[in-house]
Amino acid sequence: MNVDYFFQQLVNGLAIGSLYALVAVGLSMVYGILRLINFAHGDLMMVAAMSGVTLLLFLVKSPFILFIAIALLAGLLGLVFERIAYRPLRGAPEVNLLITSFAVSSILQTGTVMAITAQPRRFETVPVLSKLYDVAGLQIRGADIATFIIAVLSALALTWFTRTSRTGIAMRAVSENLQVSMLMGINPSRPIALAFFIGSLLAGVAGVLWGWKYGQVDPTMGFLPGLKAFVAAVIGGIGSIPGAFVGGYVLGLAEVFFIGFLPPSFSGYRDVFVFALLFIVLLVRPQGILGAAKGRRA
């Protein structure tokens, strides 16, 4: 156990944390406005990555255009599902939204299996991104640097957007109280749709970055990252964008250090550790690191 090993683990933790943060920020936006745990969020990421495989092979040659195209595709898909599956349920019990998101998740998964493949596919990587860079003795993959930058930039941009812009303030008003915001003359459909679009867009971005990082994607890859992103969002304080961002990194670092500093025989128990961490946070600080506590009232 030396200093280099520690810093290498730190880098690895930041890399996976950036991905979790990206997914968690998107999830948190939707949760913040609708109180919906969107189980389909991880599957949107999967659809983005899987369609990346096919688009890359047949249509687009430039990785940059591919990136934009897939992010937009995921965003539009999010909008479509918001319109047909979630909007008609506005005002229904939260449980119904939960069930619907499970159904959407199932549609995305079986749809992908039927339209593309049930098998894992190789995701074409870009030389600049798959190369390992040597920075002060640490091995850093290009894709991880890109993920980190994108995660930081999107969290900053979204925090700024929700705090200062007119639409962003409308968004926060709707999430605070739907009825009252409507009385204030806000049409809630627009901010909600926008939240879905941005959240899904980020899921798409994460999907492509995931493909570039691991080089392989499959139709079931979405569920666990989606769930872990929710854990990250809860750890940070769900509904808060900086909270989800911080939570993503806390989770990524905790996970990597857990594997890195315990004997290898424990590494299979990684997910037990992640969800045990969730239990602890829920019990000690249910509102999360950056969340505000709410009292119970009759």
């Binding site: 109180r35 745990i37 047909i84 599956a85 008609p88 349920l89 229904a92 019990p93 939260e94 449980v95 119904n96 939960l98 069930i99 619907t100 499970f102 159904a103 959407v104 199932s106 549609i107 079986t110 749809g111 299996v113 039927m114 569920f223 666990l224 769930l227 929710f230 854990v231 809860v234 299979g268 128990y269 990684r270 997910d271 037990v272 992640v274 969800f275 045990a276 969730l278 239990f279 829920l282 019990l283 249910p286 119970r296 009232r297 009759a298």
Partner: protein, 327 residues
């Protein structure tokens, strides 16, 4: 136990007997799975329908029951090779099936207590995700404790003990227990609890105790169903008792109507029969179509009938007893 229950039991016994002697193997198997799903959805209804808890961890308790029962009943000749790293007395001990089912239920009760005492302090979505975390934890444990469960390769060689009488016997028992809960003073307390737990607490209902009680009883029932499942399919893998089963059972509940026991029986039947009936469509590239149709159907029901097919009402034959439970 009044005459209506006796009638149900006798009628089901006759059907089971008929199924056992004259149905073909495939139909009999479907009938057994239907019974297991009925038992699962009714037992989950005790928690998700009657109280304010919305658990997504039902399949975790199934897994505990299934693995406990499978490990305890594995025949003597297979034990030394399967449990080669474990103590000799364990390799030489085979537990009879009914006892193994009870052992599975006990393991689930202990797990439900361990997890329930801290977890049930939470509310709403946090609680749901906490129970979902339980699912991931149990799955990861069964995957990694290969010395006991054989891990991802799956635990095979489980003797076939489950028959149609076991399945429907347990299903009727589950229905009976949950109905007793619903029509008793517990049901009334649960009703108050679900509508407003703070107000319920203020009127002196021990909400924490009641929530835990329903969670534990429901977990025990799920474990028994898990045990029956294991002795029906004979091979179990960690990923069997996972999101898919949880999702399906929750969907059965919600489609039938949360809180309605006859609703969850109907929901189980509808969601079990539809994919089976649509299976003929799944040829070649259309594999998975029934799953897709099921998901679409679920969304349609959620949009047009958010309270489920029956709402909180019950279908009852004869004179309806006043339960004061309908909202």
């Amino acid at each position: 136990m009044n005459w209506k229950w006796l009638l149900v039991v006798v009628a089901l016994f006759i059907i089971c007997f008929w199924a056992d002697v004259s149905w073909n193997g495939y139909a009999l198997r479907l009938f057994m799975f239907l019974g297991l799903y009925v038992a699962l959805s009714v037992s989950l209804n005790l928690v998700n329908g009657l109280t304010d808890i919305f658990s997504l961890g039902h399949a975790a308790f199934m897994a505990l029951g299934a693995y406990t029962s499978a490990v305890l009943t594995l025949p003597l000749e297979r034990r030394p090779s399967t449990f080669s790293t474990l103590a000799t007395w364990f390799q030489e001990m085979v537990v009879p099936f009914p006892l193994a089912l009870l052992a599975g239920a006990s393991v689930a009760i202990v797990a439900a207590l361990l997890i329930g005492v801290p977890l049930l302090r939470l509310r709403g979505h946090y609680l749901s995700v906490g129970t979902l975390a339980l699912l991931v934890i149990v799955e990861t444990l069964t995957r990694n404790m290969a010395f006991l469960t054989k891990g991802a390769r799956g635990f095979n060689g489980i003797p076939t003990y489950t028959n149609v009488f076991w399945v429907w016997g347990v299903a009727v028992l589950c229905i009976y227990i949950v109905v007793r809960f619903k029509v008793s003073s517990f049901g009334l307390a649960f009703n108050a609890l679900r509508q407003d737990d703070v107000a319920a607490e203020a009127t002196g209902i021990p909400t924490a105790k009641y929530r835990l009680l329903s969670f534990v009883v429901s977990a025990a029932m799920a474990a028994v169903v898990g045990g029956l499942w294991a002795h029906l399919v004979r091979v179990i893998q960690p990923n069997v008792f996972s999101y898919n089963i949880t999702f399906l059972v929750v969907a059965m509940l919600v489609i039938g109507g949360l809180g309605s026991i006859s609703g969850s029986v109907i929901g189980a039947a509808v969601l079990f029969i539809i994919p089976e009936a649509l299976r003929f469509l799944e040829t070649g590239r259309l594999f998975g179509l029934s799953q897709l149709i099921l998901a679409l159907l679920l969304i349609v029901v959620m949009v047009f009938r958010p309270q489920g097919l029956l709402g909180r009402k019950e279908i009852s034959f004869g004179k309806q007893r006043a339960t004061s439970n309908e909202q």
